[in-house]
């Protein structure tokens, strides 16, 4: 066994320097130089204020905003998480049924998209399906006093297609749509944007 102690310690020490320090620090240096925004979580700013990350979902509840999917952690980006409940869980099924009812009541949609009643794996899904977004157009238009057709057009313009037309699913980034909505159809000053 003595034969193995020196190589074990020497190899481990070198591997720590190489893969534990040199590798991540080199990637940090090169990554930040090449992709400064992406290396710092792709933040979106308005002046000095950080609004969020273009990649991380957020909670929106105001009627004039597009709403994200349900989240098991209420979009806590410091401690992501899922329901982790199985498909035969009575508690999960009851919650999903209640979400479907609420969605029907808020949008008047006859067909509820499945992403509107299910929570994502991260609890931070930044996207919803195009069907989910379209179903919310009437509510948003009414809350903003904007023409529904134009709100629909704005949402449709934000639909991201499958990668190479094949991989993944079509989707809508909720935060980007809400930024575009606020820019295109600003709320009247009597309805402060911070309420919700």
């Amino acid at each position: 066994m003595n034969d193995h102690i020196r190589p074990a310690l020497a190899s481990l020490g070198l591997m720590i320097l190489l893969t534990g320090l040199a590798y991540p620090l080199a990637v940090t240096g090169a990554g930040q130089a090449l992709f400064p925004e992406e290396a710092h979580a792709s933040l979106i700013r308005q002046g000095d204020r950080i609004i969020g990350s273009a990649l991380v979902g957020q909670a929106f509840a105001a009627p004039h905003h597009l709403h994200p999917r349900p989240s098991a952690v209420d979009y806590d980006a410091a401690a992501a998480g899922a329901s982790n409940l199985g498909p035969t869980s009575a508690a999960l099924l009851a919650e999903q049924a209640a979400r479907a009812e609420a969605f029907r009541a808020a949008t008047g949609a006859a067909r509820v998209p499945v992403d509107a009643v299910t929570a994502s794996g991260s609890g931070l899904d930044p996207h919803i399906s195009p069907q989910n977004a379209a179903a919310q157009a009437a509510r948003i238009a009414a809350a903003r006093g904007a023409p529904e057709a134009e709100v629909r057009r704005l949402i449709a313009a934000h639909v991201e297609p499958r990668w190479l037309g094949l991989f993944g699913e079509p989707r809508v980034n909720v935060l980007r749509v809400n930024l575009a909505l606020d820019a295109a159809f600003p709320l009247a000053p009597t309805a402060p944007a911070n309420e919700g």
Binding site: H4, S83, G123
Partner: protein, 567 residues
């Protein structure tokens, strides 16, 4: 739906093509020949081996090779345990994260040293940047390199011409890191940063949303760890929810790159095997057996998740794919693909929450792990695991025709078969015995989240994942309780070393034998007949052992679901 099959076919084609190329490169690396990065890496390799001393140059027999593996892994375990216990006072801890308690640090250190990467903690909440880098990332590299080295040594045992030598562990391990894991990781890590995976030593960011709410966004040196955790079949995410997290896996492109990496080296090992034994058809035969099992599982999970949850349709009138625990951008197809790849390959990373998959998808994932992670399996580990089944398969074939079995010209005798059965028994011991214990002891049962048969599936999944060194979870299971951190730690040790040591012993025993020339009576091990026999051996030995437990878990849940019974 039809286009999603095209996605799966393209994924398989790209993965196999890249793996075939990588196998040629790895063959040159592990036989000490020049490869194109040699001018750059060669000096580094020589420096590492010089530091390790003369022991790093001598050819080893199986026992010395195994002792080197154990010494190296023990040193790695002690270092990682110390870092996790001391992270509170060490630098690069911008969130002021506290040290890990002893049982959790034991569990985590074992988990990363054994290439399992079971995570009973949540990365962004319980680990400092230093612990992620110097602690976990290092083991991501060297545990993968350990598996690759052992596999190469086992292959050498099948090839050796009677001298009993299987190579030198230190040389193999250093080459695996320097020539294979590190260069690919650097390229992939930068590609991931480009796609939006953060890479910074800074702490969390405070955002104020358009509606005035506060959101704290955790980040850190994620890309460097994500690249190697995918490549080395480690699977331990930077964030607790792994590659479901939008900052760990932001885009479809990042998802496809990470999905290919899961299987890249495990598939390449099939072809490397064929090249090293000097008969590429032997590698294709192993690949075919693994491939049949992989595609069968993939088609099942994909179909089941696309079909969705009939109970949701009943309860809420909502139809569509099963999207609970899945991200919109990946949908059911890419989530099913990842789930199959990660459980087949002993990677254990996830891009969707397995606990919320349909019962029969869970059954497939459980089987992938329970057969011993041999459907491509862990880097290196999948190949030597499958060679264990090969020994048993040729033994069964020998029994049927009444002839001493042979494989690659080596006689498979009592010693090899005994060792193979011994190694095989670690799976039912770790999975069935430990699960049974958890299901009767109150401290074990307390971790179960879901009522009904799904609760049993959670226990079975936890111990299948730990013993198979997979690392994925039915994450509703409360794995952080001391009872489970300890028992899981033992299961991971069992699933790793109770297979490595007997496999090296088999290799050592075969390395003492001179290969005999093939005769008319030799059973050919490269044709469809052998592939079929191998698949049947895996299914009979692996699957039947666990069938009774699976009936009580996922199958009972599926039947209840069809009957409209929720829990």
């Amino acid at each position: 739906m039809p286009s999603s099959y095209l996605v799966l076919i393209l994924y398989c084609a790209v993965t196999v093509g890249l793996a075939w190329l990588l196998a040629g490169y790895m063959h040159r690396v592990f036989t000490g020949r020049r490869v194109w990065p040699s001018p750059l890496i060669g000096p580094l390799e020589r420096a590492c081996l010089a530091a390790a001393g003369p022991a790093a140059a001598r050819p080893q027999g199986w026992a010395a090779y195994g002792a080197a593996v154990l010494a190296f892994n023990l040193a790695g375990f002690l270092f990682l345990y110390a870092v996790l216990r001391l992270q509170g006072v060490l630098p690069w801890n911008p969130q002021g994260i506290a040290p890990m308690p002893p049982d959790l640090a034991f569990n985590t250190a074992v988990s990363f040293v054994t290439n399992t990467n079971w995570q009973a903690y949540s990365g962004e909440v319980q680990l400092s940047h230093l612990a992620q880098m110097v602690g976990l990332t290092v083991q991501n590299f060297v545990s993968a390199a350990t598996g690759m080295a052992v596999a190469v040594a086992v292959i050498r045992g099948f090839v050796a011409r009677g001298d009993g030598r299987v190579g030198n562990f230190w040389t193999d391990m250093v080459r695996a890191v320097l020539y294979v894991l590190l260069p690919i990781s650097v390229l992939v890590a930068l590609a991931l940063v480009w796609q939006g995976v953060p890479q910074t030593l800074g702490g969390a960011v405070r955002a104020v949303t358009l509606e005035g709410a506060e959101q704290i966004i955790a980040q850190g040196p994620a890309a460097s760890q994500v690249a190697i955790k995918q490549l080395g079949t480690n699977g331990g995410g930077f964030f607790g929810v792994n590659s479901a997290h939008p900052l760990e896996n932001p885009t479809i492109l990042s998802n496809m790159v990470q999905s290919v990496l899961i299987l890249l080296i495990p598939v390449a090992f099939c072809f490397l095997f064929g090249r090293m034994v000097g008969d590429r058809r032997q590698g294709w035969a192993i690949f075919a057996a693994m491939g049949v099992l992989f595609v069968a599982g993939l088609v099942l999970i994909h179909g089941i998740e696309q079909a969705g949850n009939p109970m949701l349709a009943e309860a809420a009138g909502v139809t569509g794919p099963n999207m609970e625990g899945k991200e919109v951008r990946f949908g059911a197809t890419l989530s099913a693909l990842w789930a199959q790849a990660t459980t087949a390959a002993s990677n254990g990373s996830v891009n969707a929450m397995h606990d919320s998959f349909m019962p029969l998808s869970g059954l497939v994932m459980l089987l992938n792990m329970q057969v011993g992670e041999v459907i491509f399996g862990g880097v290196g580990a999948g190949l030597y695991g499958m060679l264990l089944y090969v020994v048993l398969a040729v033994f069964l074939a020998g029994l049927m025709v009444g002839r001493t079995p042979e494989y690659l010209g080596k006689k498979i005798e009592g010693r090899e078969v005994t060792l193979a059965v011994l190694a095989f028994l670690s799976m039912p011991l770790g999975i069935l015995v430990f699960s049974a214990l958890s299901a009767v002891v109150p401290a074990g049962l307390a971790a179960v989240q879901d009522a009904g048969p799904h609760g049993l599936s959670e226990i079975l999944y936890a111990y299948s994942s730990a013993t198979g060194n997979n690392g994925s979870a039915f994450a509703g299971f409360g794995a952080a309780a001391p009872f489970h951190t300890t028992l899981q730690g033992l299961a991971m040790l069992l699933g790793r070393y109770a297979i490595i040591i007997p496999m090296l012993a088999i290799a050592g025993s075969l390395a003492m034998k001179r290969p005999a020339p093939a005769t008319a009576g030799t059973f050919p091990t490269h044709g469809p007949l052998f592939v079929t026999l191998l698949v049947i051996t895996v299914l009979i030995l692996g699957a039947l052992t666990f069938f009774p437990a699976l009936v009580l878990g996922p199958i009972a849940e599926h039947v209840s679901m069809l009957g409209g019974q929720s829990f």
